[in-house]
Symmetry: C2
Subunit: 350 residues, 2 copies
């Protein structure tokens, strides 16, 4: 397969492939010759109790999780932990619409759910690494959805969990928001039902997609204070183009749509016949629920309502005027807060 | 001119026309044979000191202002007040892209600013009614933008002002939000640069427009609590179609775009060389600034920052989990709050 100009190791850092073979999905489809792209840092210790699993968010890859969430002297420290960064299905590095051979590529790529990701990751963790317990699962946004799915689906395997800026059951508001994101792409005539000649053809749709993230991804305070200046941009338009368009325009539209569909349907209550409280009661992990206080679509109160249903959990809000996309680590105080909470969580006995 | 299936008195109630003649606009264009559509309730008293002016918001007409904001025994009571409901330019009843004769119709309709509306309204008030002072100007959203413009442009004419859920200077976040709204329509190939055969041709764009209002127009709490049930809808989809699509689909796309462009550029600081504080200092009216606490795009803090710059003003937040579109009066508590604040404002000497 030819090298994609965006989904490659030059841009996203080195990653290994874990082969899943023909992987049957919860919605009935099969991912043939499926794989997970992952990367590890650190060393597995003898007792195998220093393992941290880090899944990815919508549009993100292992690269940003490595860059923003780990480092020497950080709470997630490769000197002490064995950290597995795993790319979600559809993100362009793991099996995705754009990198799957015909005829299951593009718009024919089967429907994937958060539960599929976590089952695939479970195989990576158990079969490939022989690991039976995770000291911590931590992820943001759709990574939080996977974190919750891990804690509910495999309660005895997860010692600690830190869902950041995300919920265990997607909210109706998020269903609608994600749909409007999808619509920005699918309304592009050049998307052509997913059969576009190359992803750059759909750049008008991708640009609309990027601009809608501008509306919902940050906070009104960020814009009021023009805090995009801190990121090196000279004007609001310069920021919209230089940050958001630059980020989304290189991506594959069908890959984004695959993830958005999955995001919409995340719900741990699928394990308990729709009973969210019963699902969250299954959790044995020590959980820090970490919403971002200025998040416009995973607001603290939605996260707090779930946290109240998780035995022994704590609500640990993060302050960031960058809102949801504060997840990108756009200010020093974000790093400090993440490390403080994750450090305290990791210090708890489990 | 033929009767438009949506912009007519059967749907929006009776209205009169005030002829503006050839009206030169702030951006340089001319509205030829321009008119304002307006309706009045109540009787002008002998001292002409019982006049209330009520402009309209984006997509709204005088009808909803009459239905939701006035009534017997209400703070705005036709038994005591002479109330002028005036439709903003571009809203489909006053001069608008769809009702202007060729060649200045549709995409050729000139750029209109909030200041143009207020200058036209000033002529209606002074020339037609011979009124030199307004006891109150009150409006929501873009109606608040017009309210602020009145208080800054004609400080000696406005005794009291109540901007609800809107700002005096549009915020950067709102500029971006309004742009995404515009893009939902203009990206429709059938919009055709504004030269669509009839507005129904652009219904895909209008539906996207409606759905984006679902994301930003309410609050996450409204959706979490499924408060659309109170409005008589049976499911989330039933609400999206039955409320939002039903509301926006009959409208004219170019009319909406005309208003959105105007919304983006509202700024009373145009009177003072960009100095917002200096503009707001000009206000002589007693002002109650009335943001809605769950508003996602005119948040309380943005409104409060402006209120702090207005001499003698008060911040009077309205609680509504319906968010910005709480303006539609979707719950009894909204009426009670509006009447309490406006009643207290009207009781103040001025």
């Amino acid at each position: 397969m030819e090298i994609h100009p965006y989904y490659n190791a030059d841009i996203h850092g080195p990653y290994a492939r874990f082969e899943l073979g023909d992987f049957t999905l919860e919605d009935g489809g099969t991912l043939r010759n499926a794989h997970l792209a992952y990367h590890t840092l650190g060393t597995l210790n003898a007792s195998k109790d220093n393992v941290i699993l880090v899944p990815t968010w919508f549009s993100g890859t292992s690269r940003i999780m490595i860059d923003v969430y780990t480092g020497e002297g950080r709470a997630l420290d490769p000197a002490r932990h064995f950290i597995i960064f795993v790319n979600q299905i559809g993100n362009g590095l793991s099996s995705s619409p754009h990198n799957t051979p015909s005829p299951f590529d593009g718009p024919n790529f089967p429907r994937v759910r958060i539960g599929d990701d976590v089952r695939a990751q479970h195989r990576l963790v158990t079969e490939h690494f022989g690991i039976s317990r995770l000291a911590l699962v931590v992820g943001g946004s759709m990574g939080a959805q996977q974190t919750y799915e891990w804690a509910v689906r495999y309660p005895d395997m997860v010692a600690r969990a830190a869902p950041i800026a995300g919920t265990a059951a997607n909210t109706p508001h998020d269903v609608i928001f994600a749909q409007t994101l999808m619509d920005t792409i699918t309304c592009d005539p050049l998307w052509a039902g997913g059969d576009y000649p190359d992803s750059h053809a759909v750049r008008a749709g991708l640009r609309r997609h990027a601009r809608l993230w501008a509306v919902m991804g940050f906070s009104t305070e960020m814009f009021r204070k023009a805090r995009w200046r801190e990121l090196g941009f000279s004007s609001l338009d310069d920021f919209l183009v230089g940050f958001l368009d630059a980020y989304f325009l290189p991506m594959d539209p069908n890959d984004l749509l695959c993830m958005a569909w999955k995001w919409q349907r995340a719900d741990v209550a699928r394990h308990t016949g729709g009973n969210l409280a019963a699902a969250l009661e299954r959790i044995r992990a020590k959980v820090f629920v970490m919403p971002i206080d200025e998040d416009m679509f995973f607001p603290v109160r939605d996260c707090a309502a779930e946290q109240a249903l998780i035995p022994g959990s704590e609500l640990r809000p993060i302050h960031s005027e960058f809102g949801h996309l504060g997840l990108f680590g756009l200010e020093p105080s974000y790093f400090e807060q993440i490390d403080r909470h994750l450090g305290e969580l990791l210090a708890l006995p489990a």
